[in-house]
Amino acid sequence: MTRVLRAVLWLVFGLFFLFPLYAMADFATRDLVHGGRTLRAWQNLVADDALFRAILVSLGLAVLTVAAMLAVLVPTMIWVRLRAGWARNLVEFLCLLPLTIPALVIVVGLRNVYLWVTYLLGESPLTLTFVYTVLVLPFAYRAIDAALGAIDLRTLAEAARSLGAGWITTIFRVIVPNIWSGILSAAFISIAVVLGEYTIASLSGYQTLPVQIVLIGKSDGPTSVAASLATLLFGFVLLMILALVTRRRRRTVAATTVPTTPTGVRT
Amino acid sequence: MSNPVAVDLENLTRVYGTVKALDGFSLHIEPGELVALLGPSGCGKTTAMRILAGLDEATSGTVRVDGRDLGAVPANKRDMGMVFQAYSLFPHLNVLDNVAFGLKMRGVGRAERQARADEMLELVGLAAHRHKYVDELSGGQQQRVALARALAIRPRVLLLDEPLSALDAKVRAQLRDEIRRVQLEIGITTLFVTHDQEEALAVADRVGVMNAGRLEQLAAPAELYARPATPFVAEFVGLSNRLPALVNGAGARVLGCAVPTLPGSVPSGAGLALVRPEAVVVKADEQGAATVTSVMFLGPNSRVYARLADGTQVQAQLASAEARAFRPGDPVSIAIEPVPVLVVPGPAPART
């Protein structure tokens, strides 16, 4: 009895969640002029100048954000565990704070700060990196914290130092290789967050991929839908790769999950 | 307990895919008796218990309690109290409500529930903790509460699934004695599963040694120790030396000494005798063929390791006062006391 019920429920959920994705694929390959199928919308991802540029901007932002996040967060978290234990709760609180403060609120108050940033660094959309690094903190923190908690950090570090390694060597050649799954997890999730971020980019006037998708949406439905589907598929592939690579994790949910707080949707 | 009952597991087989967890396993527990099931991980002891409890179903075979076949009886109607290895107390209930849980399931009124739960807590010595929650208790206290909870429903059979394995060594010994005390006081038929042979020998009326889904030997602890029926039992319970032996009609010759053999030994010819360390006699001897390699102090007893002329390692157990006389390198002669041994077939072992 439960078996049948389960099968039925799976079917219903499957339809509800997969049908829109199928609809997207259908919509995006529709030839509005001649009827039938066309890949024109998909070709536009490369062919359409503005869209292609937006894709590059978003990818560039993703890479920069991951780099910045790793550069700031990994040493900080290691240092907190090894030397500055008193700061542990503070760092955790600050890292999880972006989940409680809606992106919309941040962008409303961001004007003044970004006046300075654009003054110092110019008008490029890549300056969004700073804010994006803050936005991905909760996800990255969770992933790296889990990885750090799974190894005996203190012992590893002390062993390395007692054998003569300096701090840089210790961090890069001893600790980092051991928390690789956490770093990878943080990186992939950050990429997904950045690629989907719309709120701050649009209200600050930068042309990232999601912003462009919405702009085109009014005039060229199929291309927007194609780009949206591509974003979703890309995120999905990233997370699947992550799940396969971190196979040894006991709780598969932990690696891809948001810490249990709100505004998990990066909207 | 008014009327303790007998438990019969008849020819149980449990197959998972290609794995045979139980293979024709049979066990009879006398009313009021505590039987320990002892064996390495994967030997089927927990499977047997779970089948008895109704939490698992045998592929074939019968379970009887007090003569009655329990095959069709669901787990929640079998009237057995079970203590799990860990984590089985309900975290959202305090100690008293945990203990009273089974009574609540049976529809017992609140006042009576609490009175009986209190009674059980007195029995395990935790009456003062009745309002605490699980995370405020130590491991040992949690298991005592689990025991009280299992007994509160006045079950006919008590099942203990490795109840001490998750505890610290010192707590383990204390709790082990407590469980035995309570079991004897109530007189309930009990099945105790463990992989720790010291625990099994200390606590049980009879011990059943299991291996690969089968029962190798079922006997009182002393008998099991002194007269193991199979090589597996001899090796699993207590320590053994494996010494070359020659079996003839009258017994065996081991290291030049005549030693009687146990039934189940090789009938004649060469073999390996399984000799307990306390049956090995070490004497200082200038002309001795053996040399002491090390002496290990264990408290009241010590272990003396020696190497024979042919390279075989022997370990002997002596009172520490005697062992004090030996130093590594001392020449000694080794003799074997005429205590019955099991002789198993075999070429020279990989290690002693």
Binding site: L104, V113, Y198, I213, T231, T257, T260 | M80, H92, I153
Partner: protein, 286 residues
């Protein structure tokens, strides 16, 4: 002595500076700016900006936001719990399970704009489903433009609320130890008694906490609504958009600050409630 330990602390804290600087400049200062500008204008405490929150536009938007968030929180919680139950029943290393969880992650956290277009492609004016239904029955599914108003938002928000519930609630479900069920059963509990006396009390706080989480999530969500609704401001986030981008009425930016403050307050209240609810009971299901 005290000086030395303070000095030591500062030295130990120095490597943490980049992190703190980042968070202060790009998170705390903007938040502070919002709070300050909502309460103060032209150098003094100005209740006028807060007063604007009680205008009919603002109150209607607030009410609709609450309705949207509440409805999708409940829908998401109930269906998400069912889906989580389905997933928990699968073996831990199964590919299906990983795939489903990855999909949930994508939809719940990174979907935003894409989800809006997913539904436009399905039940929009030229949506696949719209066209099918039209061909079969002649009925125009998208006729009234409901997709671009509250009913549409409820549907699309559910599409990410349900997966979010799965992500948030699944750990709690899996934290329900097998030993509890077996202990309950061996003590005489029937299936129904187990659920009533053990599973529900243990899962209850986690479930309610998840409802609160989903509420805050929906309340703060922007991208999906912004992509779906190009004109008008039925809910608070869209009202903020209007306030920020509107060139028509001067002084609108003050309104944006006040609305943003309102948002902080609502989410903060919900989060405090969530923490109070979950703090003691989360330990049970670790």
């Amino acid at each position: 002595m005290a000086g030395r330990s303070v000095g030591r602390r500062l030295a130990d804290g120095a490597p943490l500076l980049p992190f703190f600087a980042l968070v202060v400049i790009f998170l705390l200062i903007p938040t502070g700016t919002v709070v300050v500008n909502a309460l103060f204008a032209d150098g003094g405490f100005s209740p006028a900006r807060l007063g604007a929150l009680f205008s009919s536009t603002a109150l209607t938007a607030l009410w609709r936001s609450v309705l949207l968030s509440g409805a999708t929180a409940l829908i998401g919680a109930v269906f998400g719990a069912v889906l989580a139950w389905l997933i928990a029943a699968r073996p831990p290393e199964s590919m299906v399970r990983r795939g489903v969880l990855a999909l949930c992650s994508v939809l719940a956290q990174f979907g935003g704009v894409a989800l809006a277009f997913a539904f436009l492609a399905t039940v929009g004016l030229n949506g696949v489903l719209t066209l099918w239904v039209q061909q079969l029955t002649g009925f125009n599914l998208a006729g009234s433009g409901w997709l671009y108003a509250l009913p549409g938002l409820i549907l699309v928000y559910s599409y990410f609320q349900i997966p979010l519930m799965v992500i948030v609630f699944l750990p709690a479900l899996e934290g329900l130890r097998r030993q509890w069920r077996e202990a309950a059963v061996s003590l005489g509990a029937s299936g129904r008694q187990y659920w009533r006396e053990v599973a529900v009390p243990l899962l209850g706080p986690a479930f309610l906490g998840s409802v609160l989480l989903l509420f805050a999530n929906a309340f703060a969500a922007y991208a999906t609504a912004a992509a779906l609704v190009s004109q008008g401001s039925p809910i608070v986030p869209l009202l903020i958009r209007t306030a920020l981008t509107s060139e028509v009425v001067l002084g609108q930016s003050g309104f944006a600050y006040a609305l943003a403050l309102e948002m902080i307050v609502v989410v903060a209240v919900v989060m405090v409630a969530y923490n109070a609810l979950v703090r003691r009971t989360a330990r049970w299901l670790r």
